[in-house]
């Protein structure tokens, strides 16, 4: 098999994209947050064209005020329906369409976090996102008795992974080649500008003084930039992926606290689900009946990592994807590591393996 054939096979591969169904659920509230001000203005009878706006292209179709308002309110409904999984494919497609339409309506609507949100929505719209965690699927299984297969083409997943690595790397490169950023000056000035406000909001004065120190920021800025590369490059390899996902969570929370980045942090944390392997049930977990894992794994294994097999034995046994086995506490810890709600807390005490 030559290179092209391998590439084609890679792009045409199929797998389990339930992680993107989880992303679909998370994106609904983020879209509502994104349009919060726009909804509030529209409720007061104000739309984008009533105030300063700056079209990208003269040929771009403008909906009249009535149609625009109808489209906007429809997006509110489809964002909610998208999360609930009601007509998932249609409502996700419309939500992605309207977020994109609105983004390109005016240059003043552009922000990196909104472009990032559009990329995520478009990806979820491209895949059969209704096959897991949707009322559509529930209806199909319970009423029609015709569940759809879970396996779907993976190329949208490869694309969004590429896009997200691009986002982190582009941000890091732009800061490395900017002398003011790399030297710490940008962060130092930001800390000085925000000092009084931050202290008023409860930040300790000594921390703000520390952040306003040029020597501290010389080091801190390098750490911040390198962290972006560690996360981006860490995503790419199985052995470093879990660490990158774990490191990204406090990184984005810190950004959310320290700067006004609209929905970026929430979208970036939600997007971490795309790094889950699209191969479901590849770990076999044998659990004694009555063990707490027998109760919690079915509830918390949102990405379908485990093939759970209740057993009459006395020890938890986990068979990993490579065939190796773990027993007892080691197997338990490794199981909690792969359950989304407990991952962040368990990861520092585990071996960093995908």
């Amino acid at each position: 098999m030559n290179r092209w054939e391998r590439l084609n096979r890679f792009i045409d591969a199929e797998g389990d994209l339930r992680a993107l169904s989880v992303l679909r659920i998370l994106l609904g509230p983020i879209v509502l947050l994104h349009f919060g001000d726009t909804f509030r203005d529209a409720a007061d009878g104000i739309i984008y064209s009533d105030r300063y706006w700056l079209p990208y292209f003269s040929w771009y179709p403008e909906a009249g005020p009535g149609l625009y308002e109808a489209m906007l309110w429809l997006c509110l409904g489809t964002a909610v329906a998208m999360s609930l999984g009601i007509l998932s494919r249609v409502t996700t497609a419309y939500t992605a369409f309207f977020v994109g339409y609105h983004l390109f309506l005016s240059k003043t609507h552009f922000a990196h976090n909104r472009a990032f949100l559009l990329i995520l929505l478009t990806t979820v719209a491209l895949v059969p996102n209704d096959r897991h965690y949707s009322l559509d699927n529930l209806f199909r299984r319970r009423v029609l008795k015709r569940p759809r297969p879970g396996s779907t083409p993976l190329w949208p997943l490869w694309l969004v992974r590429f896009e997200i690595v691009c986002v982190y790397c582009a941000s890091g490169v732009s800061k490395i080649i900017d002398q003011d950023w790399w030297s710490g000056r940008v962060l130092q000035l930001r800390a000085i500008d925000n000092r009084e406000l931050a202290i008023d909001e409860g930040a300790p004065a000594w921390i703000m003084d520390l952040l306003a120190d040029g020597d501290v920021q010389w080091w801190f800025s390098k750490g911040a930039v390198l962290n972006e590369f560690v996360i981006a490059l860490g995503f790419l390899h199985r052995r470093t992926r879990l660490f990158a996902i774990w490191a990204a969570i406090p990184f984005h929370l810190a950004i959310q606290i320290g700067a006004r980045v609209q929905v970026f942090s929430w979208a970036a944390i939600a997007a971490l689900v795309i790094w889950v392997s699209p191969r479901a049930h590849r770990r076999t977990l044998v659990v004694p009946r009555g063990h707490r894992l027998a109760r919690w794994v079915p509830r918390l294994d949102w990405f379908g990592r485990f093939d759970l097999q209740p057993d009459d034995g006395s020890a938890v046994v986990l068979t990993e994807r490579d065939g190796s086995t773990r027993r007892g506490r080691d197997a338990e810890r490794q199981t909690w590591l792969h359950l989304p709600p407990t991952f962040f807390f368990v990861a520092p005490f585990s071996r960093w393996r995908d």
Binding site: R51, Y52, H112, F116, W155, V167, S171, S174, D180
Partner: protein, 138 residues
């Protein structure tokens, strides 16, 4: 084909962003800690300069909202950097000049901007809107 097209388009936008005001899909996050402030005037046909919020049929903050432009009269952070901010600001001056039909006397709008570029400065720069057709407005 879709995969190749998206990859090529994204890589192109990452490069093109270095020479654009708003860096669309370029993902240059939090690029600067620059600051700016503007004094904005309505310039009359005889050259008289009237502060924009004095004796006017409109109010700047009703016409221009968000993107760091609602209250440009006080010193504040430049939203996504000076280039991005000034691109929006020039657009705002032109839009206001074109969308204030009840103002029958202003020839154009002018702004004297004082800014610091990541702590360097202060520098000054003058922005001017498109000319308004005062005769037609009358």
């Amino acid at each position: 084909m879709v995969v190749v097209a998206v990859v090529v388009a994204q890589l192109t936008m990452l490069v093109v962003a270095y020479d654009s005001d708003h860096k669309t899909f370029g993902f240059h996050m939090f690029p600067e800690s620059s600051r700016w402030q503007a004094d904005i005037y309505r310039v009359q046909p005889d050259g008289e300069r009237i502060p924009i919020n004095r004796d006017w049929e409109y109010r700047w903050s009703d016409l221009v909202r968000r993107r760091g432009l609602t209250n440009p009269f006080v010193d504040h952070h430049a939203d996504s950097g000076l280039r991005n901010q000034f691109g929006y600001f020039q657009g705002a001056l032109d839009w206001v000049a074109r969308n204030t039909p009840d103002d029958e006397t202003t020839q154009y709008i002018e702004a004297e901007v004082t800014y610091t570029d990541n702590g360097d400065g202060p520098f000054e720069r003058v922005f001017r809107s498109v000319d308004r057709d005062v005769e037609d407005a009358r």
